[in-house]
């Protein structure tokens, strides 16, 4: 028995044309335009495309029509808009919201031996015990932390220099593990330390309790020691020795280093990156300096233009890609986060680059005295007598009171870039974040003014740079970048390369 076939024309939309789904666009150079939909899916097209789309002059016979329909920019009456699929993509993108606060930072002590220019902490001298977290505050803070709905909780113990208050650390770890065990939650613990006071006993303890270490490494000795003065001027040696010792004791994946960019660093991207390779580290985060705490006060030393940072970032990224190309795996975290947002269907819960903002939603900071802040930067502002983002105190308020109190509600009004002026119709909205604390600190206004915002300028330019990299790089570079996104190693990504 034979059946007949229908012609192509039987499977076309009617003459009524198409309708629009939400999208935004951005011009790149004189020739290109990038269209981005609600889920971060993008289409690179010739300049003028957005206008043609909106004026409904696209024809169903164009390749571009099919592409834009497949990517959920337009729909027509031939088929359903598959809104369920779009909804499911949207849910995936915003998956990081589920579970609420996941990162809980405990300032176990304000004491520190370093006197870094950019330090976000109002440091106290090494022997002032009254700046350590009391057991009473620690108990209440752990209790509040464990009340977060999230199944997975990260407890970050920082300072000051937390190893100066090691007994306090031990106390917090004990009660946190105990509570997490009772509630059957996964608990990951990280100590953020300059490693100057690292001992074998401390390493044994970290190993036993499966605690990770995070430290600062600003580059080679001449940069690191200039950025991070301490008596003896040996911060770099202590950090590097500490990293080696800790990796031996705990395993190399248990120790991470973060660098902070200063005016001095800006001139030495290559040297800084090479230092990370020299120390056998496999991740580096080319972070801009944050405009808080002593960093604002000492602007004459650390204040620099966003332009200079962008140069630093681009030079650095290209050097990092070259290092990967030669076979050493080194992931640049800022790039990785943005590319994940651009190229993968997943969202990321990186607190400085998400909307609703990470502050409060995904991170809470418990100060030594029980005060609760939306971010570490919020705590810095409080050290400078600006209490805008002090959400409450663990000894006085419940979690519910913190999240319904005036400080949090105030933060909330500027927490989503979907509704911020300048962001609401920005093509890069879904790749970027809202940072009301940054804008409060730099512009005196939570909502802020995008045209003069360093946050906006930096992210716009970095995202544009990444699009140009994606367009103009060879398959090998693309494979390296995709390896970062999907967290697979270099060799595996190379195996799939065309030959």
């Amino acid at each position: 028995m034979s059946r007949s076939f229908s012609p192509k024309a039987a499977f076309r939309p009617s003459e009524k044309g198409y309708r629009l789904l939400p999208f935004r666009f951005h011009r790149i150079g004189n020739e290109k335009e990038i269209l981005v939909n609600e889920c971060g899916e993008f289409a690179l097209a010739p300049r003028g495309t957005a206008e043609r789309v909106v004026r409904k002059t696209l024809s169903a016979d164009e390749e571009l029509y099919t592409t834009l329909k497949a990517k959920h920019f337009i729909y027509d009456d031939y088929s359903s808009a598959l809104l369920d699929v779009l909804a499911s993509k949207y849910r995936t993108k915003f998956g990081f919201i589920y579970g609420s606060t996941k990162l809980h930072i405990f300032v176990v002590s304000l004491r520190c031996d370093h006197s870094c220019h950019y330090c976000q902490v109002s440091r106290q001298s090494v022997d002032k015990g009254q700046y350590d977290m009391s057991q009473k505050a620690a108990r209440a803070a752990v209790d509040m932390m464990l009340r977060s709905p999230s199944q997975h909780i990260t407890l970050e113990l920082q300072g000051g220099e937390p190893l100066l208050a090691f007994d306090t650390i031990k106390f917090i770890v004990t009660i946190a593990k105990d509570g997490a065990g009772r509630l059957k939650k996964d608990l990951e613990i990280v100590i953020t330390s300059n490693l100057a006071f690292l001992t074998d006993d401390i390493l044994d303890y970290c190993k036993m309790e499966r605690i990770k270490l995070s430290t600062s490494l600003d580059g080679p000795a001449f940069i690191h020691n200039a950025n991070r003065p301490r008596p003896g001027g040996d911060s770099h040696k202590l950090a590097v020795d500490g990293i080696k010792k800790a990796r031996r004791a705990l395993g190399s994946d248990q120790v991470a280093a973060l660098m902070t960019t200063t005016q001095l660093s800006l001139n030495y991207p290559i040297e800084i990156i090479d230092e990370y390779v020299k120390q056998s580290l496999h991740t580096i985060f080319l972070r801009p300096i944050s405009p808080y705490g002593f960093a604002v006060k000492s602007r004459h030393k650390t204040g620099y233009e966003t332009d200079a940072f962008l140069e630093f970032y681009k030079t650095g990224l290209s050097h990092i890609l070259e290092i990967n190309r030669k076979g050493y795996s080194l992931v640049e975290i800022y790039t990785k986060i943005l590319l994940q947002k651009i190229l993968s269907p997943e969202g990321t819960g990186y607190v400085d680059l998400q909307s609703p903002c990470g502050a409060g939603f995904n991170v809470l900071v418990y100060n030594y005295d029980g005060d609760v802040y939306a971010t570490d930067e919020s705590r810095m502002l409080a050290e400078m007598r600006d209490f805008t983002f002090r959400l409450g105190n663990v000894l006085e308020h419940s979690r519910a009171q913190i999240f319904s109190g005036p400080a949090f509600v105030n933060l909330l009004q500027a927490a989503s870039n979907q509704s911020l002026p300048g962001c609401s119709d920005c093509a890069f909205q879904s790749y970027c974040g809202a940072d009301p604390i940054y804008h409060h600190a730099t512009q005196g206004d939570l909502i802020g003014h995008r045209a003069t915002s360093g946050f906006c300028k930096r992210n716009m330019r970095v995202i544009e740079h990444l699009f140009s990299l994606l367009q103009n790089s060879n398959p090998e570079i693309q494979a390296i970048l995709w390896g970062w996104i999907t967290e697979r190693n270099l060799a595996e990504m190379r195996a799939d390369l065309p030959q």
Binding site: F5, T66, S79, V85, K89, S344, P345, D496, L497
Partner: protein, 382 residues
């Protein structure tokens, strides 16, 4: 290899499904056994067998269903399951425990009508009869196969009958991996998918074709309005129930132009799929009739195929290539090539004799004859 033959049937009115034995078995084992012999012993005891198959012509009269004058009885091995047709004496092997390619044909009906279909659908209701045959077949598959493929037509048209078959397989062959080839459209209905998810075997996956990121193009290729929407929604429903999914893309001149767009579509909209299979076209069924529209020499789509594979693999999706000979594939794609043509329809050409990689090449379908890639040649240097 042939899987069917015919003889002269006698003394039965309905198809018989039974397990082959080439030697006589005790009376209590005979109910589900077909005895295969070269000749009949006039004094033999043939009572109680499901049927007897005999090579020679049988003149004597016995009380057991019989097919005689069967030419190739050597292909029947003990343990095979066969079906005997009463009207024409047709005998077909349904199950070979020694083969890795056993299938369960559940219907020849289909709600799509793909331009390149290798087994064009038939519009007659074969479902109740085939279901009965397959239930019996499942009971007789012993030892249970490692892998079995449910195929059609379109299996989901069976509705309740499919659920019955699947739950029987789940109970009878708990360690068998069951793969079902379906257009996935019916899974768009969540109540069906949810019933389905309750009964399927524990090691289970579905293979679903998706030919474009464009509803109009996909629907034209499968000749069914709304098929794209239903298949995409169906894939999402299956994922929601944790069912392993494979997407199958047949490569021809209608699917090649948007192949890399389809790969991107999968990475964004169907991120949960476990494998994507790219398949060379079979030149049988409807394909020869539509060859002018479908033909593209595989040599001419290697770049687009590689681009699509890079998009999928860098995202972490497993890729396989079926039905394409190594000599037409780019070397960098050899590692994805899989020998997937069922043993009984697999063949090689004369030129393959001199080829150094014949042993790991998928080869040809027996019937690939009308159009052939200009790239077919023996590979002498590895």
């Amino acid at each position: 290899m042939k899987l069917s033959t015919a003889g002269v049937s006698r003394r039965f009115g309905d198809p018989i499904v039974a397990r082959v034995s080439t030697i006589p078995v005790p009376f209590d084992k005979r109910k589900d056994t077909t005895l295969v012999q070269s000749s009949l012993d006039p004094d033999g005891d043939y009572r109680g067998y499901a049927a007897i198959v005999v090579r020679d012509k049988v003149e004597i009269s016995i009380n057991t269903p019989l097919v005689h004058s069967v030419q190739d009885i050597d292909q029947f091995k003990s343990g095979h399951v066969i079906v005997l047709e009463p009207l024409n004496g047709y005998i077909r092997i349904l199950y070979r425990p020694e083969s890795p390619h056993n299938t369960l044909l559940v219907t020849e009906r289909c709600n799509s009508n793909c331009l390149m279909c290798s087994q064009p659908p038939k519009d007659r209701d074969d479902i109740p009869a085939l279901t009965e045959r397959n239930l019996k077949l499942i009971d007789l598959m012993s030892p249970a196969p490692e892998y079995v493929c449910i195929t059609g037509g379109e299996p989901t048209l069976l509705g309740e009958h499919l659920l019955k078959l699947l739950s029987r397989m789940r109970d009878k062959m708990p360690s068998t991996h069951v793969h079902m080839l379906t257009n996935g459209r019916r899974f768009a209905w969540s109540d069906f998918t949810s019933e389905f998810s309750k009964v399927h075997p524990s090691r289970f996956s579905v293979g679903i074709p998706l030919y474009a990121d464009s509803a109009s193009l996909h629907d034209y290729i499968v000749q069914a309005t709304s098929a794209f929407d239903q298949t995409v929604l169906g894939l999402h429903q299956l994922a929601r129930h944790g069912i392993e999914t494979e997407i199958r893309v047949v490569l021809h001149s209608l699917t090649i132009p948007r192949l890399s767009r389809l790969a991107e579509y999968i990475c964004r909209n169907l991120t949960f799929v476990d494998h994507v299979a790219f398949m060379g076209m079979e030149h049988i069924g409807y394909a020869p009739r539509n060859m002018d529209e479908l033909w593209i020499d595989p040599l001419d789509y290697q770049e687009e195929l590689e681009k699509s594979i890079v998009i999928l693999t860098r995202f972490g999706i497993d890729v396989r290539i079926y039905n394409l000979q190594l000599c037409v594939l780019k070397r960098s794609l050899w590692k994805y090539s899989s020998q997937a043509i069922s043993d009984w329809k697999n063949a090689y050409r004369d030129v393959c004799e001199a080829c150094a990689v014949r042993g790991r090449c998928g080869g040809f379908f027996q019937w690939t004859t009308k159009k052939e890639s200009r790239g077919i040649h023996p590979i002498t240097e590895i």
